[in-house]
């Protein structure tokens, strides 16, 4: 039932005469079976560079630019501003946004950008230049987001909701000498899944993509799979979950987890899995 249909039902509450109410319900059911109009689409904001990843050394100065397009037929007033961000538990990519300079690993003091306020003509574009000035020492990754926000027109309408649209470019400013150290530990079973903890022991945010395969005792691979990317800040622990999609018969198996940390870095874990005659699973061993 669509929102329109729901709303109509609510209006129906206010109807007092039963006959009118019945007619209302009949028409409503007809609407459920039908449809409503399709609007034409209008693209609006398109930021070419959604992510800026920089490997930097202490004292380095880096210049760059970001290009934003207005793909609509109206002039847009824009403002550009910086906010800090942190990936938050369960580290699936969702973020906390914080005022500039308030996150422990903020880069707000390092980044300058201009222009900060501008208008983009219809079907036009605007380049925003940025400069990253790294202090003499950088020991861990610093992060933030440069938001491009459309400034809504002021309105005198009562009881109004104003839509604010914004796109952003994530900045990952990390030392060129990275410590990409992580371990997979706390192996366990939860329902029909193998669970483990991915612990980031390094100095930058890690984005592991974990693939796995399950091997029989004779070396034959039963099946393979992968799990969604994790977004794990330095010092944080995220949960890996490997669903066992097929029912395993009695025997010994080896599950191999392979967390790809990019640039050739991987974390591997071998897990010994036992299935008894009753189908009960248990972890036999694990090794790196």
């Amino acid at each position: 039932m669509s929102y329109a249909q729901s709303k109509l039902l609510r209006i129906g509450i206010f109807l007092k005469e039963g006959l009118v109410y019945m007619i209302f319900r009949i028409i409503l059911l007809a609407l459920c079976a039908g449809g409503i109009l399709t609007p034409e689409a209008h693209a609006q904001l398109f930021l070419e560079n959604a992510k800026v990843s920089l490997s930097v050394s202490g004292g380095e100065r880096i210049n760059g630019s970001l290009l934003i397009h207005n793909t609509s037929s109206v002039v847009m007033s824009m403002r550009v501003y910086w906010e800090d961000f942190e990936y938050k538990s369960p580290y699936d990519g969702t973020k906390n946004f914080l005022p500039a300079g308030t996150a422990p690993r903020s880069a707000s003091q390092w980044v300058a950008f201009k222009p900060q306020v501008f208008t983009i003509p219809a079907f036009g574009q605007q380049s925003v230049d940025y400069t990253v000035s790294v202090p003499s020492q950088i020991e861990e990754g610093h992060y933030g987001v440069l938001f491009f926000e459309r400034t809504p027109s002021p309105s005198e309408n009562p009881h109004e909701i104003t839509i604010v649209t914004r796109v952003g470019s994530l900045f990952f400013i990390e030392p060129s000498i990275k410590n990409k150290k992580a371990v997979i530990q706390d192996i366990g079973l939860q329902g029909n899944s193998i669970i483990a903890s991915f612990v980031n022991q390094g100095n930058i945010t890690l984005i592991p993509h974990t693939t796995y395969y399950i091997m029989q005792n004779d070396g034959m691979v039963l099946y393979r799979g992968d799990s969604k990317n994790l977004y794990v800040p330095a010092g944080a622990t995220a949960k890996i979950e490997i669903p066992l999609k097929k029912k395993l018969s009695q025997g010994h198996y080896t599950v191999v987890l392979n967390s790809d940390l990019d640039e050739g870095d991987v974390v591997v874990k071998e897990i010994g899995l036992v299935v008894d005659a009753s189908g009960q699973l248990s972890i036999e061993s694990s090794k790196d």
Binding site: S6, G34, L47, N49
Partner: protein
């Protein structure tokens, strides 16, 4: 003579092969950077007492205001609605992800109260209006079917970094229906107001109530 010609042709062919064998392989590559974008259309949906959508009007490109206007008291229920009981409306916001490949920017939505509430008034527009995320499927160039996504029904003030549930709209596109709460508490009468939401009543103090709905698109 013929033999000589054949030998010459053979030599040319062999030389040609040598030339081909010595050709350098060039790697052709291109990379498309991850993009972040928002594509949005706002439409005003009017429904009448007879139970029909009387109009579905796409607003001009760049529309950012969703006014509910001066509300009208329904004396039978003591609630204020966004029009006479014979014709009320809500706003439909169509959103499409417009990122790039695996890194599609999945928008999040956050509501913020912007009006200064009069002394003694605790609820703002965020507790008097709701949003229902819905999947819309194309039927014809002028018709589409809309299905609410289960569990994606919020009082506006509870929208804080809520991720637009695109997975629920696979095979169609995402729509956010934003409307005032009406006080329906019975599921027998259709979808109820989102949890915690209540309509404006005579107990609410006269004021202009407003807020912002921020739609943010970022890659992971």
């Amino acid at each position: 003579m013929n033999k000589k010609i054949i030998l010459v042709l053979g030599a040319i062919c062999m030389l040609g092969q040598v030339t081909i064998a010595q050709a350098t392989n060039f790697t052709v590559s291109a990379s498309v950077p991850q993009a972040s974008a928002i594509t949005m259309t706002v439409s005003k949906v009017t429904v009448n007492l007879a139970g029909s959508v009387t109009s579905f009007v796409a607003q001009p490109a760049g529309t950012t205001a969703l006014p509910f206007g001066t509300l009208t008291l329904n004396t039978a229920t003591g609630t204020y609605l966004d029009g006479p009981a014979s014709a009320t409306y809500y706003w439909a916001i169509d959103l499409t992800p417009n990122g790039s490949g695996a890194g599609v920017a999945q928008p999040t939505v956050t509501y913020t109260e912007t009006s200064v509430l009069p002394t003694g008034q605790t609820a703002g527009l965020g507790q008097r209006a709701g949003v229902q995320f819905a999947k819309v499927v194309y039927v014809t160039s002028s018709t589409s079917n809309e299905t609410p996504i289960s569990g994606q029904h919020y009082m506006l003030s509870n929208l804080s970094g809520v991720t637009v549930p695109y997975t629920g709209a696979i095979g169609g596109w995402m729509r956010m229906d934003v409307g005032l709460c009406t006080g329906n508490t019975s599921s027998a009468n259709g979808v109820t107001d989102p949890t915690g939401c209540a309509p404006f009543t005579t107990s609410d103090l006269p004021a202009t109530y407003s807020g912002t709905l921020a739609v943010t698109a970022l890659v992971d």
